[in-house]
Symmetry: C2
Subunit: 212 residues, 2 copies
Amino acid sequence: MTSTLYHATGSPNSRRVRMFIAEKGLQVPMVPVDLGNKEQFSDAYKAINPRSMVPTLVLTDGTSVAEVPAIWRYLEEAYPEQPLLGRTATEKALVAMWERRAELDGFAAVMEAVRNAVPGLAGRALAGPHFYEQIPELAERSRLRLVNFYADLNQRLLTTPFVAGEHFSVADITALVTLDFGKAALKMAIGEDQTALQAWYENVAARPSALA
Amino acid sequence: MTSTLYHATGSPNSRRVRMFIAEKGLQVPMVPVDLGNKEQFSDAYKAINPRSMVPTLVLTDGTSVAEVPAIWRYLEEAYPEQPLLGRTATEKALVAMWERRAELDGFAAVMEAVRNAVPGLAGRALAGPHFYEQIPELAERSRLRLVNFYADLNQRLLTTPFVAGEHFSVADITALVTLDFGKAALKMAIGEDQTALQAWYENVAARPSALA
């Protein structure tokens, strides 16, 4: 294992990959990228990822793999033990489905709410190489989406121990990172009546990988 | 093969799956869902997909698989010939990366531009079970994103014959569906100077699967 992960401590997308690596018990060298000093826009980092986003996994042959699900896919193929993307064809599909819902309904909504509201991210309403102005109305809508996401996820967890079914998977990673970032950045809390969500959260947050 | 695809003719997401099926040469029974008459909100369809979205693949055991990448993953695992998600671990990662970029930068931008602007979609600014009001400013920003996507894709195609590299893949499917829907719904055209994008488009649009 000599692939290298470029990441940032406070980046929720980086955490999605660090948790995955921790769950698999892999030893991956990690290089921090200083987002506070805009290191992602440096020539050195743009040579690794022209889109100036973290995380990026650089393989031993120099290939850069960006985008969280793509990095997960590489690591799962290369190190199939402790599968986190599903075991059978059906399970792989259901993990992909539930992870995507957690991302589109939850994770993307938190990011959108933060990027369209935080003064320091003016002009950076979307991650990537292009600059877009913030839309305050969008930040408001994102909060509403997040309220719906928490309610939907609570419903789901009334029927299964983990987001995608019987096994811990990347769907749980994305959901946990969403809730933690929603709490830290937006003060979004689990509702008092959302007991299934609360029980799942306590269970998943207690895994050693959650510290990654 | 007795899985069944619930889809809609005019739905770009449905087309992403139909093209995939056509490329693989699979025979999948298809059941149309009449979006014009809001059949996706009927009790019968909600029993198949509680989120009222198309497409959905219903497996022989009754399992519903929704979300385009999840349906692709199931079909690729079950029918590995004519791989469209990559061959090696590295290729699978790069296909996932490039397809995701085409989706987030291109496909999602077209959908967002349409959903936040078309009068008939008032209150339906996001697909799914929840209702959100349109944000006209967002529709404008989406058009700008699409302009950037076309330019970025043209740059990429100066270096590779297909979006993810040497082979046709789901990244090409998402990009083609994006361009076709962008042209039909938003009158977005390939720029005259975007010769690599134009050449790729003509090549990919000529595949029999593009008629799916």
